[in-house]
């Protein structure tokens, strides 16, 4: 059996998102897979190079078009559907980019989609979480049409670099819709590591009480080179921006170290951190559910513990 997998690359115009390399690892689990990556961009240059360097990739298909400067599902889907005929599988990351795009592709192909693939069990057989990760399904895609899926990136390591795929330019000949126009993107500029790929994450909850207090968390993060996350409660309360939210409807992450401070640990939050290697919980309430999943629990007031932690980390320098 041989499978041909097309992965839709995610990028910001300048750099490949790490989710792409994780999709490659997922795809390599499909028996006999030959893997191509599609890069849709205004100008692909270094993006194509980066994709070609991922180990296990055969070809990088470059679709350059001015309309691809700002990815919108309605614009990208027809371009990718035009390529789909050659493939048994089309995969994208289970990030907001992939979640928006892949179902649009699937519907145009008259295919179902497997969302949040966390394990590959066969050519058309996968495992995926449902009910906020409280149950795991093993599913099989019936029929012979292509498998469309999104990859739960926290479940796969990034593919190594060192590959040397061929890069091919593919002209965009399909008609692109004009009904969906990009207006703006306000991204928080930050020197901190990216939340979704960081090795260490410190995360804060409602217990911080204010946006001002939440800044204490940034100081701690910077001392250990961590990314900053937040619970839904902290985002809803306006202490932290939405792109920091960790959980069922926010980001699903798998850092080596996750430190949850003042987060009680609602099921919806826990589902976002289940794959963290080591979880530390600091909370005033000894019965908070976060302690059920924590490898190290510390009961106490964060306003006392955080300064202590900072001082201890300074001592170590």
């Amino acid at each position: 059996m041989s499978s041909k997998v097309l992965i839709v690359a995610e990028h910001d115009g300048a750099r490949l998102n790490p989710s792409t390399a994780r999709c490659v690892t997922c795809a390599r689990g499909i028996p006999g897979a030959q893997i191509d990556i599609a890069v849709c961009a205004a100008s692909a240059g270094e993006l194509a190079q980066a994709a070609a360097h991922l180990e296990g990739v055969s070809r990088v298909l470059v679709l350059e078009h001015p309309e691809n400067a700002h990815p919108r599902a309605a614009v990208l889907a027809p371009q990718l559907v035009a390529l789909a005929g050659q493939y048994t599988h089309l995969l994208g990351p289970s990030t907001t980019f992939g979640k928006d795009l892949m179902p649009r592709i699937a519907a145009l192909l008259d295919c179902a989609q497997v969302s949040d693939i966390m394990a590959v069990e066969g050519e058309r057989r996968f495992r995926r979480p449902v009910y906020a990760g409280n149950a795991i399904l093993t599913v099989e895609v019936e029929g012979t049409g292509p498998v469309v899926g999104t990859v739960r990136t926290a479940s796969f390591d990034a593919a190594a670099e060192g590959g040397s795929a061929t890069i091919e330019s593919v002209p965009v000949t399909v008609e692109l819709p004009t009904h969906t126009r990009f207006v703006s993107l306000s991204a928080a500029a930050s020197d901190r590591p990216d939340l979704q790929s960081a090795r260490r994450v410190v995360s804060g909850g409602r217990a911080f009480g204010s946006a001002e207090n939440f800044k204490m968390l940034y100081r701690l993060a910077d001392k250990i080179g961590a990314a900053v996350g937040a619970s839904r409660a902290a985002v809803d309360a306006g202490y932290a921006p939405n792109d920091l939210q960790v959980g069922q409807t926010g980001k699903i992450i798998a850092p080596e170290l996750y430190i949850a401070i003042g987060i009680s640990g609602a099921i919806q939050h826990l589902t976002g951190i289940k794959d963290a290697r080591t979880i530390v919980a600091i909370n005033k309430d000894p019965d908070a559910p976060i302690f059920e999943v924590a490898d190290y629990g510390l009961v106490g007031d964060l306003f006392q513990i955080l300064p202590e932690l900072e001082a201890l980390l300074d001592e170590n320098r």
Partner: protein
Amino acid sequence: MKRILVGIKRVVDFNVRIRVKPDGSGVITDGVKMSINPFDEIALEEALRIRERGQAEEVVVATIGPADCAQQLRTALAMGADRALHVQSDALIEPLTAARVFLKLIEREQPFAVILGKQAIDDDNNQTGQMLAALWGRPQATFASKIELSDSTAQVTREVDAGLEVLEVDLPAVFTTDLRLNEPRYVKLPEIMKAKKKPLETLPLESLGVEPRVRVKTLRTDPPPQRQKGVRVKDARELVEALKQKGLL
């Protein structure tokens, strides 16, 4: 008439602790509290607010599922929807089937906006809105945290991984809701009484000519692997020592 179509799904209430059946055939739903999917409640609230601002005249709420789903439609009517459509079926409805059904409802109702929750909290698929927009050949504005309508377009703020993205879409369009779009209203008792008199139309799935195909077959349902219970440390110093010992700091 300027009309908004809202889709809702009956799901296990978000407060219920989910348990997997010992034989791996699914999760326990017998005797469990069922509610409107929270994201769909937000979708309905948004439609009601648009109507209350005078930017729509009618809000039609629709669901697909067995007879019991009428309960959730009644709740939606009590929240303020004008009428309800119940596409009745006992079959398993995949997102692509749901999208096909909504396309049929769009043909019937001619809405200028369709608002759906971004995902259902049971199957966590996050597909139906995008699939519907594709089949309809119309714009999709997913994960919306703000929707501003004008006559022929909508400006939508979307919660994306990088931050907040703003798109402008031509109407009609499909919108899917994120958590911070609004806070749904509570239903008051008099409204529940009034809702009993509002129109609720039942349409058998077959009458729409949509076949409930199952293309992603569930073979088994397992509980998630449990994490090992950890240890309590007594203070910050002990925590730092422990993390250092494991090479994490």
